[in-house]
Amino acid sequence: MTADEKPVISMRGIKKRFGGVVALDGVDLDAYAGEVLAIVGDNGAGKSTLIKILTGVYQPTTGYIELDGQRFTMADHSEAIANGIDAVYQNLALADHLTPAQNLFLGTELTRKFLGLSILDNRRMDREATEVLRSRLGVELRDMNVPTESLSGGQRQAVAIARAVRHKDLRVLVMDEPTAALGPQETARTLGLIKALRDQGLAVVVISHSLDDVFEISDRVHVQRRGTCAGVVKTANVTVEEVLGLITGANAAAA
């Protein structure tokens, strides 16, 4: 993105230790609105830890996070959601026996008053879930009253994404290997969803092992290597070989 534009969210000097193991050692990260930032790296490079800190699941040992230039801390994931940051995990975190609408609102159910008690407003949740799936993701499910387990992999992905983008104030969406378990057709569809969300002005952070996918959707690539950032490059300016070199450490100076 252009130099004068301010990042939505920045991580500065993030260090995370698990007992004696240093998972992250002084990592910086910036994500901009309307941009897809890919995070790549080998297994154990610290990608997952990094995004878990970004989404409030873990707290950094040292370092801090800035939202719109303001330092803030998150005690847990729900605070991240309250601040407009949400994640779609690799396992999608769906309850398979609930319907898509029930999953979409899991943890943030809509309620209505009934004899002075607040009870779940199932009808409104069904309606809004259908609406979010259609208007934000262009997905229409044949039947909204089936358990989520009966949906295809891509549809389940859409439900998980819809859960995150349902919040009107969502600004940063983190996705952990969104295409790992999908076939070619479903992968293409999911990448399409990611582009659509970017065009809607979200800052999208995607972890991926597939460099093909990374080069198709990302604007910038953040390479993690052994707990540190090995470089951040503009996707348009590099080749797959150069990114591979950063991942494996073959040409550490390329950044």
Partner: protein, 378 residues
Amino acid sequence: MTTAPTSQVSQRHRGLIARIEPFMGVLGPLVMIVMIAAFMGVFEPARYFRLSNMNQILLDAALYMPMAMAMTFVITQRGIDLSIGSVAALSAIIVAFLMKQYGFPAWVCVFIALGLGGVMGLINGLVITRLKVPDLIGTLAMDLVYRGFALVLAKGLVLARFPDLITEIGRGQMFGILPTPVVIGLITMVGGYFLLRNTYFGRYTIAIGSNPEASEMTGVSVDRHKVYAYTLMGAMAALAGVMLLGKLNAIQATSAPYFNLHVIAAVVVGGTSLFGGRPSILGSLAGVLLLSMMINALVTLRIEFFWQSVASGVVIILSVATYAWLQKKDRDGGGSVGAALANPDNKKILILALIFAVILALMFAMGAVLAAPPGASG
């Protein structure tokens, strides 16, 4: 053109199974209820279908309805509660003492019992979620604890004769024909249905049973809702304790020994999955009715009381096995007995069974040959 109709048929066929599946929990017990009714209609129609006997069946079923409702929540969360018999006995004994020895008013005692049961359930929940004791062991151990307290309090005493309110709860009649406990039981069932469909607790119960990690990730407080479920279970067990107290108009420390398995059986027969995430309150109601009808049928046929235990066990195994089979996606193959015997694992199990059969046969023969008239030694 020729393939189109067949694919359409198979589509419709699959649609039918898919449409039936959610109702299997109710359909299964209903089929069995009809079968029992048909069987009894042939063999003992006069005594089984008497109004007083129908009343008896409902009265018996009512005792288990509140517990089956609560157990549906516990099992849907992938939990289990083996302490409910002792919770029922202990809460009933405590309020029995309060009424008999301290003259507490009966209506206060009903609420005290519910509160005590709730606290015992809460303790169960804390043992499981905070002390991280697995539910099976945790509630089994708490079962010993609560039963022990009941024995300490009541010793060998049988407490009997309670105020009218208590006997009304246990065996009274409402509106002329409907037994009060049935009304209470049905109210708890309706309440359970409402809880499941329309509250955070119900929604999170399914979510937790379906995928505990996902629930945790999406901000569902898993442990808190587990504690809620066990608390509800404890309170409903205590309600059953009061109903039992009123039904018998007497209570002792060893009362309600088989509540655990009877209630778990009813819930599982009703189609609530032991693997979590699939509740069926209506199924639990059907399961309770089925078990009561079955036990009553055994009594009506003058089959010895102790066979009830055998019958309950067989029904549990049969229903769980049936549901497991229905869940299996691939039902082809593995059909014939011959194919099963070709499997080397099955061959080895067969050999093991044969070895035991031979040893047992030999030992019985030896014992019979060497048998001497039983003397005074034993």
